[in-house]
Symmetry: C2
Subunit: 123 residues, 2 copies
């Protein structure tokens, strides 16, 4: 499979696939051409990457998940390394959720206060 095809199948771009490869996530062989040749399994890898990215993971965090998939597991998150990252990310997300909730309340308070208060016009 060539890079354009894989990109199409994975719903992304060749540029992106090269980027992933450059960061050690996706693997490709080479044609006599010099063209990248992708194994069928890489499609799953790319999907895994995209899903995790969408969940707020960074490429570095994703590496263990890819390794896990390559090791023949049915999912990338079942290996110890993945689990460790998973736990860390969950903690981060929880933390962030907490902060965001506080912010939300502050903003709500300000809004309510504004709706009750008179104001001079700005400028």
């Amino acid at each position: 499979m060539l890079i354009g095809e894989l990109a199409e199948l994975a719903g992304t771009s060749p540029r992106t696939l090269r980027y992933y490869e450059e960061h050690g996530l996706v693997r490709a062989g080479r044609d006599a051409n010099g063209y990248r040749q992708y194994d069928d399994g890489e499609l799953r890898v790319v999907h895994e990457i995209r899903t995790l990215l969408a969940s707020g993971f960074g490429l570095d965090d994703i590496r263990p998940f890819v390794a896990c998939l390559r090791a023949g597991n049915s999912a990338g998150h079942v290996c110890p390394d993945s689990v460790a990252v998973l736990r860390r990310k969950i903690a981060e997300v929880d933390d962030y959720l907490g902060q965001l909730t506080e912010v939300r309340e502050r903003l709500h308070d300000q809004l309510n206060q504004a709706l009750e208060s008179p104001c001079r016009r700005a400028r």
Copy 2:
């Protein structure tokens, strides 16, 4: 008040104050020196900016709040323009909270699933 003093009082840096000025948020007069001379009121302005930045606002969003303060209001969020931004931001935050919550659940599910599943070692 000179830039270093204001920076100190506001808990930030001269660089940052110049940046705010460059973006039309903070105002400064000039000495014969060419040195920036700050009015006392600017301290409140800078505080307002910092607070809003910490809540996830961008500098552009903050502008109406500053205008509101300058208009003599006791708080930056009581003017119509500020309220509009406030509503928009609240909506953004709510939306983001929703997404983050979904992500959190996905991650929890994956973690639980991982804890039940056997796995081959990665690599």
